[in-house]
Symmetry: C2
Subunit: 173 residues, 2 copies
């Protein structure tokens, strides 16, 4: 014995390792919205939450301009990004605010869905038009629960997962 016994923590709190959350899988999407002006942002939180009727949940940061527009118009489009998406598209839609720039001024790879909102016609294998039916306040975010009003497959390239983005799209510095 060297005078140093192991420290034990009886009744210690369970540990939360935040890196365990990195193991959850997500896709990568451009969410597009529009009122007087078109706007869009990058999301990884789009998922089907029910069937009969089919409903889609989208979580959106509260401080996001698109969140304000969704709450005004009640509609949005999801473009499902593919593995060949260039980092520039992620940077363009995800790393600047529609408050500072018009994200569609120079981005022309788009079409307009029946709801009047743009979707991406390149780097996307599907788009889904959504209509918000309810929302849940989650402090930092709003979770929108939506009905589908239109959807179309645009191509056969594989969907970009968040894991693929980190491995192969995001530049390594």
């Amino acid at each position: 014995m060297r005078g140093c016994s192991p420290v034990t923590f009886a009744n210690s709190q369970p540990k939360i390792d935040p890196t365990a959350l990195f193991k959850l899988s997500y896709g990568l999407y451009v969410i597009t919205v529009g009122d007087e002006k078109d706007n869009g942002y990058i999301s990884n939180t789009v998922f089907q939450v029910s069937e009969n009727p089919t409903r889609i949940a989208v979580s959106c940061q509260k401080n996001n301009l698109s969140r304000e527009i969704i709450e005004k118009t009640g509609i949005l489009n999801v473009s499902v990004l593919t593995e060949d998406v260039p980092f520039e598209v992620i940077r363009h839609f995800g790393m600047q605010s529609g408050r500072d720039v018009d994200k569609f001024a120079d981005f022309k790879e788009t079409q307009r869905a029946s709801n009047g909102v743009l979707y991406l016609s390149d780097f996307a294998n599907a788009f889904i038009s959504l209509k918000v039916i309810s929302s849940l306040d989650l402090d930092s975010h709003i979770l929108f629960i939506c009905d589908i009003t239109e959807s179309k497959v645009l191509g056969s390239n594989d969907s970009c997962t968040y894991a693929h983005y980190h491995k192969s799209v995001k530049p390594k510095f």
Copy 2:
């Protein structure tokens, strides 16, 4: 002219192609629960929906036994399945009901988290213990919004996505 003109649908409804939904990306998880008896089921719908505080959403079919147990106990664990998960594990947890069989009678690759509920110690790279803070009725499903009470990384194997499951785990008949 052969007496047969193309049919046009003016003002036709926008089309909903359900296969567009297959382009959304998901992970694959075993959700474990317990009251008098341990139970678990396969889910692809586990998402972080907010930060500060971090909250996780889990969508669960209403006719699921585990849904009843979650509503009674308010707690559940998520085991994040890895790419090496055998189809037998998916079949075991996902294609039979805890009403008919004790799913943990012969499945021993488990440990118990601090909340007293089992998690998978094999074929999983992380577990997350959740406490339900609110829920949303979505007709066919209930969406549980949860706080994290414990989480741990269990390994470094890649997480199994739903796409990987369909491509490489599910048997081709």
